[in-house]
Symmetry: C2
Subunit: 125 residues, 2 copies
DNA sequence: GAGAGTACGCACTTTGAAGTAAGGTACTCA
DNA sequence: TGAGTACCTTACTTCAAAGTGCGTACTCTC
């Protein structure tokens, strides 16, 4: 590995400190990069989906965590909830515009992780 | 918000299930999206750095977590450690090629988070 | 010779994210 | 009448991630 490799370009914003502790960005980053947050955002990036569908897509999530994650993302304005007053209840979840912006950045990251996971985790050098 | 918004393109890889529970990708995703993992990778994307410099950049990290995070990332082959046998000790950390690939995807995500955090967290609609 | 800097390792404690379990409503279907 | 579906809520528990604090071995400065 060459030590003179070119550093990735970084916006001026955090040249010299990543970003400060206790500021809103840390909170938002925590929501976005949380275990289930990522999976829900990725799932929704394929389009509007219902509760039970999300449960299946995000394999292993409990109902409590699904509700909690959706609520957090909704409060952050990344996910919108559309409840129709029909019986049985029908609720559709989808990404807002900001949510799409985010997922557009998240998807390549997750894809990379997916592609490199086996090589890295199993056959670690 | 228009329900007919165009879904983001998603690689075939996980059309129909995000990805399975208990597979290596979940583990790697956890490492990469962990609270301190992100910050360290972002900090290192600006180039090789020493222990104490990383401590300052990732504001709020404890020595224990710094050591632990670096060790995890090193085992995953994302960070390389270069210890020089001088006194006082001098250890430089940098990204491997895989680490650079990752950080190239991570940086825009963090930048977006940084730009939108205040609007989202403070003035939530 | 007292204190600070450098790069950790180890043990103990705390916190909070996540899991488990159960209940509730307003229906439909057999 | 009883089971099942869809969409949750609340309460209790657990466990791993993270924090705290101390020790080391050496050197350089005040």
């Amino acid at each position: 590995m060459d030590a003179t490799l070119q550093p990735a370009p970084l916006p001026l914003s955090f040249s010299g400190g990543v970003f400060p502790a206790g500021c809103p960005s840390r909170t938002l980053l925590d929501h976005v990069t949380s275990k289930w947050g990522v999976l829900i955002l990725i799932a929704l990036s394929e389009g509007s989906q219902r509760w039970s569908e999300l449960r299946r897509r995000a394999e292993g999530i409990s109902e409590k965590m699904l509700a909690q994650t959706l609520k957090t993302l909704e409060r952050d304005g990344l996910v919108s909830r559309d409840a129709q007053p029909v019986i049985p209840p029908r609720v559709d979840y989808s990404l807002t515009e900001k949510g799409y912006e985010l997922s557009a950045l998240l998807v390549p990251l997750v894809a990379w992780t997916f592609d490199n996971a086996e090589e890295i985790i199993n056959g670690r050098a």
